[in-house]
Amino acid sequence: MKGAAGLLARYAEDRVAAAALALFALLALAALAAPWLAPQNPYDLAQLDILDARLPPGSAAGATELVYRLGTDAQGRDMLSAMLYGLRISLAVGFAATAGGLALGLLVGLSSALAGGRVDALIMRAADLQLAFPAILLALILLAALGPGPGKIVAALVAAQWAYYARAVRGVALVEREKDYIAAVRLLGLSGPRILFRHLLPNCLPALIVVATLQVGAAIALEATLSFLGVGLPVTEPSLGLLIANGFQYLLSGKYWISVFPGLLLLGLILAINLVAERLRVLLNPRLQGV
């Protein structure tokens, strides 16, 4: 395997993918620096002014020096600030859910592959059952039961997505398990966990990275959908999906900025992530090497 620098160089051969990575990095930085970049803390109700509600982009605030570059929403919230904070939520939820799903999926998938037999069958039927449910439906039901909150959204997303990882891991692990190097370390008498984590896992990773990057995009889209439907996060702390939903009723009356700007941001974010994932899929697939 080549080093990370080599991988990056090969990644950049695709200009579109390179641009997507740059866009993603930019958005991630903006999200991280949101508290410093945003002109207003959109979640602090004391900083909002209802007298500034629904101002078009470029309007000046009535009582302060602030200029609303992307306009304000129905509560007088600065759209730019709300979008930066919303981006933060989207990314945090997306990555946390992916990490959680990945960890759970790895554990379940590897155990399933190693154990085989009835345990394997049982786990995989459970995964089938979960995959048979639309992810959005499962997440809606869970959130209805759990109540609102970022932690609960993550939990719902993990529950809706773990099976993808488990299936992928099991597939790869079943192939790897039969290979000679595993037979060799078994003959050496290494312990089960050691074989699992030191030998099997690293060789399953490339496939998992691809699944995980794709699922980050899916998780972010799912979170936005849930917020759009009004479940998950409190109305006073809107994420991108909730911002879009809030502006929706104003679309017909010409106040486009409340919905359109967060919509474009969400579109850019998910597009960037999916392009990166696609490029990684090509790079990490041995069968496509040299193509």
Partner: protein, 522 residues
């Protein structure tokens, strides 16, 4: 999941691009703004259900667009003594099945609300005052109350007359299927497609004159953007509950006609006034407080002063409301002209909070519905914003009406938004602030369990007063007492609005009812 309906407008927009189909000039399609859960007129006491039922059924007493009582199936009524009301019935009225409407049907219809099972909002508060009923002759009935009771005719505007023959032993489901939905109203049952539409056919023999429309469809379009899109696309002829963002555009559109009126509905906050520890009032770190600050009248006064009603009305409600300090609208019993809305006074609010021992405020969660009143979710957020400026730390939780009312009734909230429409201040107080007592139907919406013997006394006296002037005086005193005590925090009276295509007219109604029979071709 009603939330799914939020996706509907996108689909409807797509439909809007296709050519609107031509409709027969004798047909009328109206977009309702709220869901109708049943066609059983005795099932749920909520405006959407009652308004839908009004197409099929009549009450003894009707309400005109301005809120005045006018003859319905009763041509006249009078108190023959202090505790007896006599109603003279209209002669020659036929049910949709051709049978005659008589005193027997009145007896049956007044008994039925108490027999309806699983009602999420019973009508019994209007029938419980009737201790005995008597048929004097087939067109005269007498109703006795245990104590003098003035508002009985008003109560009976909400109790619809069903056919004893058709509805004997009928369940709510029999009304929804149409089997028992046999009334005397201007339209006959066509079809009830739950969550979608109600189809109605003209009752040519209607006692009030032949309706203008051969077929009427009440389409249930609960999503604001969907309702607007349907009107613009010509799928419906008129809509109720016009979304506030669209009003200005509709007003400027020469192909449409807008009708508005101040509605009887007052929007206000109910506060937890009985418990010393309230679930959603804490210190700013989330720890319980020694006492519930909402029980201190200074804190309630501070909250009222901290709310900038003018900004709320102009910005959040986009001008479609009037700030108020009263419980009922001007011009009806119990409205006190002298009570003005509390002026916005942030410094005064902070001073009062400090006086009450909360110089740094406290933490409060505001609860509200998100699919019932005009802009309800936005209003809750705006008030949270205003209270935050006064030094409180606020959180907002909104939810669909289906779970909201039940939880509020169970006392799960500390500070909750409610809208109440009433044509009398004493009746409103009986439901909202009288000491809760299920046996007599009092305090059914007194979520904060406010209890004030003096208020109870005044309300009882007002309701028992048959002399109009004396009753108005007592009701006014009761309202003044409640407001002096800041027992609830009134915000505003909302506007009811309708938009229709040009060529139609509708007289805006104070009770927010949308009645197909009141739409007229010009």
């Amino acid at each position: 999941m009603p939330a799914f309906l939020r996706l509907l407008p996108a689909m409807l927009l797509a439909c809007a691009l296709s050519v609107a189909q031509a409709r027969d000039p004798g047909d009328l399609v109206i977009g309702f703004g709220a869901d109708v859960s049943s066609l059983d007129p005795h099932f749920l006491n909520a405006v959407p259900n009652v308004a839908a039922a009004a197409h099929l059924f009549d009450a003894l007493v009707h309400v005109d667009p301005d809120g005045k009582l006018v003859p319905g199936l009763a041509v006249s009524w009078q108190a023959v003594d202090a505790t007896t009301w006599e109603f003279k019935l209209r002669r020659g009225v036929k049910f949709h099945d051709g049978s005659d409407f008589t005193a027997e049907d009145v007896m049956f219809s007044l008994e039925r609300p108490a027999k309806v099972v699983n009602s999420p909002g019973p009508f019994t508060s209007y029938t419980r005052q009737i201790a005995s009923r008597q048929i004097v002759d087939p067109y005269t009935v007498r109703l006795k109350t245990p104590a003098p009771y003035g508002p009985l005719p008003l109560d009976l505007t909400t109790i619809y007359m069903v056919s004893k023959k058709a509805a004997a032993n009928a369940t709510t489901e029999d009304f929804n299927s149409g089997r028992a939905a046999v009334g005397t109203g201007p339209f006959k049952f066509g079809a009830f497609r739950r969550g979608e539409a109600i189809d109605l056919v003209r009752n040519d023999a209607y006692w009030g004159g032949k309706p203008a429309w051969q077929h009427v469809q009440l389409r249930l379009l609960t999503n604001d953007a969907a309702r607007t899109a349907a009107l613009l696309a010509g799928d419906v002829d008129a809509i109720e509950a016009v979304p506030t963002p669209d009003i200005a555009r509709f007003r400027a559109n020469p192909a449409l006609r807008l009708e508005q009126k101040v509605s009887w509905r007052t929007i206000f906050w109910q506060m937890d006034l009985s418990r010393d520890q309230s679930p959603f009032v804490t210190d700013k770190a989330g720890r319980p407080l020694a006492h519930n600050p909402l029980r201190d009248v200074r804190v309630r006064a501070a909250i009222s002063k901290a709310i900038n009603r003018q900004a709320l009305v102009e910005r959040t409600m986009e001008g479609l409301a009037i700030a108020t300090g009263n419980i009922v609208i001007p011009g009806i019993v119990g409205h006190v002209d002298a009570i003005k809305p509390d002026a916005y006074d942030l410094a005064g609010a902070k001073r009062l909070l400090a006086e009450a021992g909360y110089p740094d405020g406290f933490a409060l969660t505001l609860h509200g519905p998100n699919n019932r009143y005009v802009n309800d979710e936005q209003v809750v957020q705006t008030v949270a914003q205003m209270l935050t400026r006064a030094g409180l730390q606020t959180r907002v939780e909104t939810m669909p009406l289906s779970s909201y009312f039940g939880r509020a009734r169970a006392g799960e909230f500390s500070f909750a938004l409610l809208g109440w429409g009433s044509l009398a201040g004493d009746s409103a107080l009986r439901s909202l602030l009288a000491t809760p007592n299920p046996d007599i139907g009092w305090g059914g919406f007194n979520w904060g369990r406010y209890s004030n013997p003096e208020l109870d006394r005044l309300v009882r006296a007002a309701l028992g007063e048959t002399d109009a002037a004396a009753r108005a005086k007592l009701a006014g005193q009761a309202v003044e007492l409640a407001m002096r005590d800041h027992a609830l925090v009134p915000l505003y009276h909302q506007y009811a609005s309708w938009v229709m295509r040009k060529g139609l007219s509708y007289r805006a109604r104070v009770d927010e009812f949308t009645l197909a029979n009141a739409f007229h071709p010009q």
